[in-house]
Amino acid sequence: MSDQDQDKDPVVHSSLSRPLFIWSALLLLSLGWALYDEVYGIRPWKSYQSHFSKVYSRYLRSVRPNESTFEKQIQASPEYQKLDRDAEAARKTVAAQVEARDREVKQVLVPQTLALNDPFQEVRSHIGSLTYQIETTNSQSSKESMRREIEQIKKEIHTVKLPMPDGTTKKVDYDYARMDRDLLAWKNRKAQLLQEIVDLQKPYTELLAARDKYLSDRVADVSSGMLAGLLNKMDDFDIGVRQIHIKDVDLVDRCESCHLGTREPVTLTKAAMGGEEVFVSHPNKELLKIHDPEKFGCTPCHGGNGVAVDSIEKAHGSNEHWLWPLHSRENFEAGCQQCHVKEIVTEMAPALNAGRELFRLRGCMGCHRYEGFDREPEEMISVNQQIRQLENQKAEWDREIGFTSDKADRTRDNAEAQRLYQHANDLKVRISGLDAKIEQADMRASNLIREVKKVGPSLKEVRMKMHKEWIPVWLQDPHKWRPGTKMPTFRLDQDDIQAIAAFIWQSGVTGNLPTSSPGDPVKGKESFETRGCMACHSMGEGNDKEGGTFAANLSRVGEKDNYDYLVRWIHNPRERTLPYCPFEKRDLTEADYKKKGVPFVFDMDHSKCPNDGHELQVEQMTPMPSLRLTVEEARDIASYLLTQKHFDATYPAADYLDDPKLKTHGAFLVRYYGCAGCHEISGLEEEQRTGTELTKEGSKPIERLDFALLGHGAEREGWYNHKGFFEHKLQDPAVYDRGKEKPNKLDRLKMPNFNLSKPEIDEVATFLLGSVDSALPERYYFEPTDQRQDVIEGWWVIRKYNCMGCHQVHVGQTTVFMTLPRYQDPDWKDQRPPSLIGEGARVNPAWLMRFLANPALSETDTNRDGVRQYLKARMPTFYFSASEIQKLVRFFAASSSQSMPYIDPKMEAISDQERTMARQLFSSEGAPCLKCHATGDAKHDQRATAPNFLLSKERLKPGWTERWMVHPEMMQPGTAMPSGLFRREGDRWVFAGPTPPSFQNYPRDHADLLVRYMFQFTPEELNRLRASAGAGAGR
């Protein structure tokens, strides 16, 4: 700049055009930026959509040739060609007739109707408006004049040019009545002609449909026609937000704005969509069918922010402050738990089911309350409360009856006295209703005392059961001693262990235990492996482990248990040494009974307290059932189990267990750590849970989850959320003590370590993440009032007693027996316990109830199975309570869609002649039924592999029996019962093999005959049958 310039006044002489230009340009740029942001920046789904339409069309085009060549092959097949030719021929035969009718419709009726319609409508509307005026006017004279006007209009003549079939027109004069008549006639004629055309073409259209069905039956996925339709849809694909809006719940889910392939009819894989995972179809179409997205949306199950579409982070709800983030892959079944809160088993949610099962089986519920889990103790309290209330009510009414009667006696007014007596009588009737209610509640209470189970064994009997030295070693680290055990490792030091062990030992009861002579371990091993023990228990260590995980691994039992106790336990695990009185809160001893002069007997039939008449706990609170073994067999098994040990294991002496000084501190620790949550312990029977309730843990505000010093690290590492909290806690329950200064060890976190594996942690975390206080409206919850409720209830019982260890309860399930090596052998396959799929359709519920209560089906001969005596594995006696039996029976009925209660269908009586025929067939060589089915003859039954026919009448349902005889393979793949015994002949089933001569000219259904025979079977008939079969075999 020169001096000249410097002297000039900058306000006046300096030019602002450059900064103005630059800033204006920048402003324009920012405007451009704003527009871009508005159109694309905050709408990333737009580019997803255009990309989707591109890759999807490409994919559709790439599959179409395959589909169409395949289709062409089918179209070239002779069957298809023949159908095609037949259709064409059928069309040709009627072509001329169709043509004639078609011509009449198109060339005469339609044009003439059109020509006449306008004048007719004009007149009719005029009449209509006049009629309306007549109806609304008040003046009689104007009504009359308008009526006259209408008559006038009707008489007016209209000249209409009607087109003729030859192309000319013809003038016709019409009044209103004639127009009406002609139009109606033409309409009827047209309808008649069209119907005739349809009738004529019927053979042709039917053949055409058959041809198309032939094609669609053979094309697996979608036809090329459908593909073309989809392609067309992609061609006029319009870019816009795609949302599901469910008005009544105010739910807006726009997930499908990016996840465009979710509901496409074609199954889209990642590879098919050019590696874009966002476009794949929903992996479980079955699930979508049940939960229609139009009704359920996406976010109620999956989490995430359904409304947000401006970034992946926000749409998936992984931004800070969004309370319901998308469930991650390993936890996505958490969404099910939200609405399926009442279930222990939810179909199609294996991980969630496993999580719930872990929560139950590992004893989490011993310390943490969770609604629905281990509910019996709570129910017991509420039932007892109910009983008390009802009794109070009854007393109150009793008093009122007295007052009322008194008053009635004294009153002078006859009518009033009548009224009062009536009232007193009413109350008496109502009291009898109360009595019934009280009786029901009492029954429920005595049921409940049987239903309460503990996760761990009773510690009252340690003195009788255990080796003293073993206890401290076990407490030190249960998982080291028995990997995978349910008992978790507590954070105990040596002093704690000594005190706890001493308390447990000293609080144990003692009682009379019969001394047993030693058994045969070899026989015991055989029994252990075949009687069914391994459905729950496992044997062997490390990779040799075999058997179920429901109960303990028994490979080191020999190091810890006393023989005599073990014999008693195996013989009947429910047998208690002393009964427990919940009212007096103590174990009763023989002295209590002696004082009252009652024999020291306590069992299901003698379950009342001799002191106060309250219901006693007379059973061990274990789900372990009795296998109804003989004492000898129990001894054999016990002897075998005692051989299972590490011979080099040593246990330091533990004399301090008898040190009374340790007991008080031990009791404190046992209470503090909540041992009584899983174990029955003397003096701690009424302990409350020590942990926090977890029913709604998944929606606890994150601020309330105590990350302690790890919070900031968690935020940095990205696990400052519920999932992260649960996973870290389950991995190492002490993790949030890290870095904390806690000089008093009782201030430390006391949750013990369960040594869960990574998949197990995921499963439990899934369960907890789904345990939320859901914001969803009521109707989303799965709370059926129909039979599905019975299924929910039944699963709890089935899981509780591990029915699934032996039986297949639902399709696709594996039992423990299926995995045992011994049962892979074809000879042993028949020894697997029966599948219970369709059990409700198979058996009579009344019989099932009896069977569940007493699987031996006999009071005296209990060393047997009531139905399948040929099985080595035995249906054990679970000592179910009445309500558990009800639940199970209802469960089976509901899962086979059987109505309850069951009413026996009427059965047509079988004639003597038919009986002879059936007997002949049963013993013929074509149908050697008795070869496999048991007959009650001990020698024969050794080789039998199917139940006795004598049971059928009581046990089975006739409908099922017939279906079973006809198609056993369909009901139970792999069954020993042969399939194809019958063939269809017209509308009846006929025996497929050679039939005895008497069957000739028998016109009725053979399967039905056999069913009727079986359902009217008697022991005498069995003898006759056996005799004739024997004779037949003899020949």
Partner: protein, 311 residues
């Protein structure tokens, strides 16, 4: 030094205006004052040179002979304003594109967020709650602030400085403003935004806002420091202290107003009512920083403890 934490605090969309405030307020204070000083110099120059005063009407230095005495609004002012409008619009555009409204989770009546902070413009009031009881900080002080602002035109009758920046002619007003607005109000907002963390504890910038942090401070009332026990004694003691403070404050302010002949001139013109009202507000204002120091440095909770209010 937890830079991550620092960045999170200053980059929260809600806090961005405060961060800007920290830069912009000092800048414009400096800028305004520098203009005022320039004008003051010009006044001196023009008073010494009557010839110049005749031609020179523009306010700021530098000034060169030959420059126009008057400049028209159009185009010279409006074009600058137009440029400013463009720049401000640009800033607002970019701001609105890049920073979205800071939404948080739905309110939960059973869970209070920690720290629970008022909107930024109320943070000064919230900060005051630390030093006074809620009645004083939440009701009395805000009322005083509003009343104080309302009486300003009735107290300040000094006509100088209208239409131009000046320091010399408005020293007292400027210092009162700087003290009351910038030092007290703005700095309390800054403290509330950037320094108060979980539990409303004092976290220096760059330290981690740790929810588990525990702090040991025992705050005492002034009468307790002097070992007073009875309630009446405490009330009387507090009243005496407050009275002493008021008297000392009034004398100090009086001295301040009579520091220069110019100030004396303006002070003389004020009526008794004006002086008393001004004294009341200034003494109240002054009480705030004194109480802050007493609290933060000497851990004094209250000076004047009564059953009805605490100061």
């Amino acid at each position: 030094m937890d830079l991550n934490q620092l960045w999170r605090i200053i980059s929260t969309p809600d806090n961005v205006p405060i961060v800007l405030l920290m830069i912009v307020v000092p800048f414009y204070t400096w800028y305004g004052l520098s203009q005022a000083f320039a004008n003051d110099r010009l006044v001196v120059q023009l008073e010494a040179d009557p010839a110049l005063a005749k031609t020179h009407h523009r306010k700021t230095q530098p000034w060169k002979p030959g420059w126009a005495r008057d400049v028209h609004v159009w185009p010279y002012l409006l074009r600058i304003e137009f440029l400013a409008a463009i720049i401000v619009t640009l800033i607002l555009m970019v701001w609105s594109i890049t920073l979205n409204a800071p939404l948080e989770e739905p309110s939960n009546p059973t869970l209070t967020m920690n720290p629970a902070k008022a909107p930024w413009y109320f943070l000064g009031l919230q900060e005051m709650l630390v030093y006074f009881d809620p009645w004083i900080a939440g009701v009395v002080m805000p009322t005083l602030i509003i009343l104080g602002l309302m009486v300003v035109p009735y107290i300040d009758e000094n006509p100088l400085g209208n239409g131009y920046y000046t320091y010399k002619q408005r020293k007292f007003a400027i210092w009162t403003f700087i003290f009351g607005f910038i030092i007290l109000w703005v700095s309390m907002i800054v403290i509330g935004t950037l320094i108060r963390g979980p539990g409303w504890m004092w976290f220096w910038p760059g330290t981690t806002w740790d929810h588990n942090r525990l702090e040991f401070t025992v705050n005492r009332d002034l009468p307790d420091v002097f070992g007073l026990k009875g309630r009446v004694a405490k009330i009387i003691f507090g009243a005496i202290v407050m009275g002493l403070y008021s008297v000392a404050g009034a004398i100090g302010i009086h001295k301040l107003l009579n520091l220069t002949p110019f100030a004396r001139k303006i002070y003389k013109r004020m009526s008794l009512v004006q002086v008393v009202v001004m004294q009341v507000f200034l003494i109240s204002m002054l009480a705030l920083p004194l109480k802050m120091v007493a609290r933060l440095v000497f851990r004094i909770k209250y000076v004047w403890v009564t059953p009805w209010f605490n100061v």
